[in-house]
Amino acid sequence: MWDYTDKVMEHFTNPKNVGEIESPDAVGEVGSIVCGDALKLTLRVDKKTEKITDAKFKTFGCASAIASSSILTEIIIGMTIDEASKITNKVIAEKLGGLPEEKLHCSVMGMEALEKAVANYRGEPAKKETIGEEKEICKCFSVTDQKIIRAIKENNIRTVGGVTHYTKAGGGCGKCVPEIQKLLDEFWDKNDAKCEVKKAKVKPKKCLTNLKRISLIQDTIDREIRPPLKADGGDIKLVDIDRNKVYVSFLGACLGCPSTGVTLKALVEAKLKEFVDENIVVEEVSG
């Protein structure tokens, strides 16, 4: 069972702006029954102001596809075509309070329909990322290399599973998985190389006075560690520092959470090693 947010369920059970605008000013259609979801978006646009005065949708798909479409119409009504053209799948997912990762492709479908509608309004051919040959990678869901690369780039995807969540590619027979991996490897080889250069410049400094060291640890905790914990309802506090040993205690939802052991090493210690000192060891103590 999917863990849908209340917002998703609200837009699924009572979708807004269902239907089709008669003789619309713009139409965007994506997907098909074979793919498992499809969306037809129709817009009414004020020619003078280029404002979207009305938007309606018809969607074939699951709860999150219907909810994504519904919220999309709410987002874009009142926007200018220009403003709407900047709406990404992230905005759609965020407005819904998040989507299960396996369902992120539903928000991508919303974005694609909108892009097509904008292009249709402007009388342009459908927008393409790069000029050149597009190659169909996933035969089951007709997903091209361009679409995959774009998803990787825009959503910082690192795994084949991630690509499947956003684009569905690789989610059918699975034959294209090696090709998706190749695209990931190629993309990140290029981009990580760029990042390495940046990272090298901000190498942690080792010769810190004790006071500076303490404040850097506290800063790192505040900046890098607490926000993701807080996002899950938890928190952490610095208890003591004894040379390379840093003692922390978990708070809020982290208390009694079985995965704090992992969090301690994979997040807290890793970040402190990255930003302060490679030799740091973190231990949990009761606050």
């Binding site: 999917w2 699924f12 059970t13 979708p15 269902v18 259609e29 029954i33 074979v34 498992g36 979801d37 499809a38 969306l39 037809k40 018809k58 969607t59 074939f60 798909g61 699951c62 709860a63 596809a65 219907i66 089951c140 869901f141 499947t164 569905k168 989610g171 059918g172 027979c173």
Partner: protein, 386 residues
Amino acid sequence: MKKIIYTDNNATTMIAPEVFDAMKPFLTERYGNPSSMYTFGGSIHKDVEEARGKVAHLLGASDLSEIMFTSCGTESDNAAIIGTLRTYPEKKHIITTKAEHAAVLNLCQYMETEGYRVTYLGINEEGMIDINELKSSIDTDTALISIMYANNETGVIFPVEEIAEIARQRNVVFHTDAVQAAGKIPMNMTKFPADMVSISGHKIHAPKGVGALYIRRGTKFKPFMIGGHQEHSRRGGTENVASIVGLGRAAELAEEHFDDEIKRVRELRDKLEKSLLEKIPNTRLNGSKDKRLPNTTNIGFEFIEGEAILLMMDAENIAASSGSACTSGSLAPSHVLRSMGIPFTFIQGSIRFSLSRYNTEKDIDHIIKCLAPIIEKLRKISPYGN
């Protein structure tokens, strides 16, 4: 919690109250190990054997030693298939169907990576296999035929008796995954010449985590779960006593309720099916109407998607399942319905209702009342709806 209208019994079933009562002593005071020498433990051996007797009776087995308890249907399937392949290491060919449960299908696909050749028999639009295709697939290299008794998604019953006869003539071991059939329709192993039969507890009102494998006397078998002397050294591991006792009681109850299942449950299923097909346009029955389990119906609602239907039904406290892509765990819709060649417009909106003896006419009326507006609402949202 509101009363749930539970029509997903091919997924799992409610533990019968009688089953729970039978299990209780073994979850509390009678915790001994049946292998022990002292009475406190050793006496429990008798309870395990009594349960074995009840399962043997359900299947019409001629000897208690033909029943081996396992942890689930999947283990039974694995034990049957891997046990047989280990027995005949020189033979490298398996025959199965495209409609199998993942427990058999994925295992066979895995065996392909281990150097086995697998023939996957196709199914037609009725969900039925072609016996001639089976016959022509058997060769001297064939180690095993594994074909399900009844399909979990459509309820379609395969001609397993005929298959067993063919396998016997050709001297090939025949295993059938009867997880969906056992306890719903009578079975008699003295007349049905299959060599191995898998069953599962939680599909027949026993708890999850227990199953059994029928192994016909004289069938060569190498253990899959290697360990202690339990189950005649064919399946190591201390017996899951409480659940085995539960399975025994469930087997007994299933026999008592066969008539109810075959008459009343079938009538309820037929009423549900007929009403939905008549009342709602653009619907179809997926699978054979006649050669079917009495409790299952799989209906395709065109132009809408299954998960959406299920969630709307959930809001009405109705539990069922779907073959749509969104509900399958993968992104591809049901392999069974696709193999049947059912149009995608129907597959994505396919809903399986699977009843049990605990369903009432009131349940069915509630579903019939709720479904039409749900389908209508979703079709209004769908771009293909009009």
